[in-house]
């Protein structure tokens, strides 16, 4: 009896200790390239993400957004500083990066296999995940037979196949048309609410950030520093074209423009 109850207890403990941040980034700097002439990609970044929080990181190109994501995903180690990520992460790219030799279902099944899901459970679970991104009818298509938006949906389903506490997204909808992106925003928001995982979403589109985020973090360029944080207290669901979103986006966009001009960057 007690042995059975223990795991549940442990899970509840995790849930109740929500004061502990999901992600804790402390004074992280990152140098790239030749050690004699290093490029400082990140400079003294500190950042917390709470459990279940949706944080958008906004910055011009060259602000080290992707570097930061790689660090959080555990693909790189910081040169200076510390990073603590509680729980598991999953990463989604700007390019869908689907495996071209597999069908949509196969791509999701690989993620399930790597997550340790038993063989007989993979197929129904993959189909369930594809259903959540409204692609159940396209399970047998290969990536080259899908549109850009569909590919990103498969990538989202694949990222969600990995049970994770933190979903990292690297400009995932950057290459899509406005209408498709709008629909995917709705789906992402719905899945985020369903799953309750924390999300760190990188974008250079301020309105997209305000549409999605609980909090927007603004990074400067070369080197990347946190220059501003903006809490977004708009009621959900939001519309990217709504005046409220535009109103909140304006000062952030203004601040971003200052940064870009100050650095003479593109």
């Amino acid at each position: 009896m007690t042995t059975l109850a223990e795991p549940t207890m442990a899970l509840e403990m995790c849930d109740t200790t929500s004061a502990v941040p999901q992600v804790q980034v402390r004074a992280v700097s990152m140098l790239h390239g030749d050690p004699r002439h290093p490029v400082r990609a990140l400079d003294g970044i500190s950042l917390d993400i709470g459990p279940g929080e949706f944080v958008c990181v906004v910055g011009a190109s060259g602000c080290g957004k992707s570097t930061l994501l790689n660090l959080l995903a555990g693909l790189d180690d910081p040169t200076v500083g510390s990073i603590a990520v509680a729980g598991r992460t999953s990463l989604m790219f700007q390019d869908a990066a689907l495996f071209p030799w597999l069908t949509a279902r196969g791509n999701v099944e690989v993620a399930l296999e790597l997550d340790g899901v038993a063989r007989r459970d993979r197929r129904p679970q993959a189909e369930e995940l594809l259903r959540t991104v409204h692609l159940e009818a396209f399970a047998d298509r290969r990536p080259h037979e899908l549109s850009g938006g569909m590919r990103q949906r498969v990538a989202l389903a694949r990222a969600l196949a990995r049970r994770c506490d933190l979903l990292l997204m690297d400009e995932p909808f950057g290459a899509l048309d406005a209408m498709t992106r709008d629909l995917l925003h709705d789906e992402l928001e719905r899945l985020w609410i369903e799953r309750g995982c924390a999300v760190m979403f990188v974008t250079h589109n301020v309105r997209e950030a305000v549409r999605l985020a609980d909090r927007v973090v603004l990074l400067s360029s070369r080197p990347g520093r946190v220059v501003g944080e903006f809490d977004i207290d708009l009621e959900r669901p939001r519309r990217i074209g709504s005046p409220e979103v535009a109103e909140l986006a304006a000062p952030i966009a203004e601040r971003l423009r200052e940064e870009v001009v100050r650095h003479g960057a593109r």
Binding site: A97, F99, W101, L102, H144, E145
Partner: protein, 296 residues
């Protein structure tokens, strides 16, 4: 579309439309269309037929010119007649069976060794520096140059043949695997790693499938090298109890049977073409189509 149509009577016109529709669909799905229709088969065949006819005519002209006496260089007619005769004897098929059995066994061994070697070299920097260029060196070495050593090691036995076949085929397979793995898009490897793949699972689920087209290219080249080595070996290692195609060539040379010699060579050529047409060709096309790389 044609499949989901309700089973009502269709006029020939409608049927034709459905057919066209199916054709367009197959094309849009990246498939080759018109397979099985006479026109497509004909358009694929006639250039080959013309090429064969041109070669036969040139051969006949050289034979007629009297450059060599007819019993040394016969024309196509007696050779083709002999080929047909040979194909109706059990001895020929026995020889084909021996040679093909050796080819398949030797090539399988070369594939296993080449795959293991290729994966090991591509995943280990030390091995790559150590034997990476050696592999290419061994690959360019003519198989016939291995024979003296093979004969010392294995005497006149099938072991000597297998030794040369494996050493002829394995480096090509290994090099195909290495270049295939080297050219896997880094993004796919990153995607695999973020999904939790590492070590063996990364190799099995991401790297090897991504490298598969190049690996098949290596297999194809390895087969060509193995097949050449095999025939060279059969010319030298002739076992009385095991008639093979190579042994036939050598025996026909010794008895100055030009007609039989050229007929056997044609048979070898046909086997080479058949292996490519029935094996590697469709396999490569299948892989390319599945990945959306085939344009037609």
């Amino acid at each position: 579309m044609a499949l989901v149509e309700p089973p009502i009577a269709v006029t020939p016109e409608q049927e034709e439309l459905a057919g066209l529709d199916a054709l367009a669909q197959a094309e849009s799905a990246g498939r080759r269309s018109g397979q099985g229709s006479f026109g497509a088969v004909w358009s694929a065949t006639w250039p080959k037929l013309v090429a064969v006819v041109v070669v036969l005519v040139l051969w006949q002209v050289v034979a007629w010119s009297g450059w060599r006496p007819w019993y040394v260089l016969p024309g196509p007619a007696p050779v083709l007649r002999r080929l047909l005769e040979d194909l109706s004897t059990a001895a020929t098929w026995h020889a084909v069976a021996t040679t093909m059995r050796r080819a398949l066994l030797g090539f399988s061994l070369a594939v296993v060794i080449g795959l293991a070697l290729g994966v090991a070299v591509s995943r280990s920097e030390v091995l790559r520096r150590g034997i990476g260029s050696l592999l290419t060196g061994v690959q360019t070495m003519p198989s016939i140059a291995w024979f003296p050593l093979a004969l010392i090691l294995f005497q006149f036995s099938e072991g000597a043949i297998f030794f040369v076949v494996v050493i002829g085929g394995a480096p090509s397979v290994a090099n195909g695997v290495i270049s295939g793995i080297d050219h896997v898009p880094p993004l796919l490897i990153r995607a695999g790693r973020t999904l939790g793949a590492q070590g063996w699972s990364l190799l099995r689920l991401v790297i090897l499938p991504a490298a598969l087209p190049a690996i098949v290219g290596g297999l194809k080249q390895g087969w060509a090298f193995a097949w050449r080595s095999l025939l060279a070996g059969e010319l030298i290692v002739i076992l009385g109890s095991r008639p093979s195609l190579g042994a036939r060539l050598e025996l026909m040379r010794q008895s100055a049977d030009s007609v039989g010699l050229i007929a056997t060579m044609l048979l070898l050529l046909c086997i080479g073409v058949a292996v490519d047409a029935a094996g590697f060709g469709p396999l490569e096309r299948h892989l390319r189509r599945r990945r959306g790389l085939e344009v037609s």
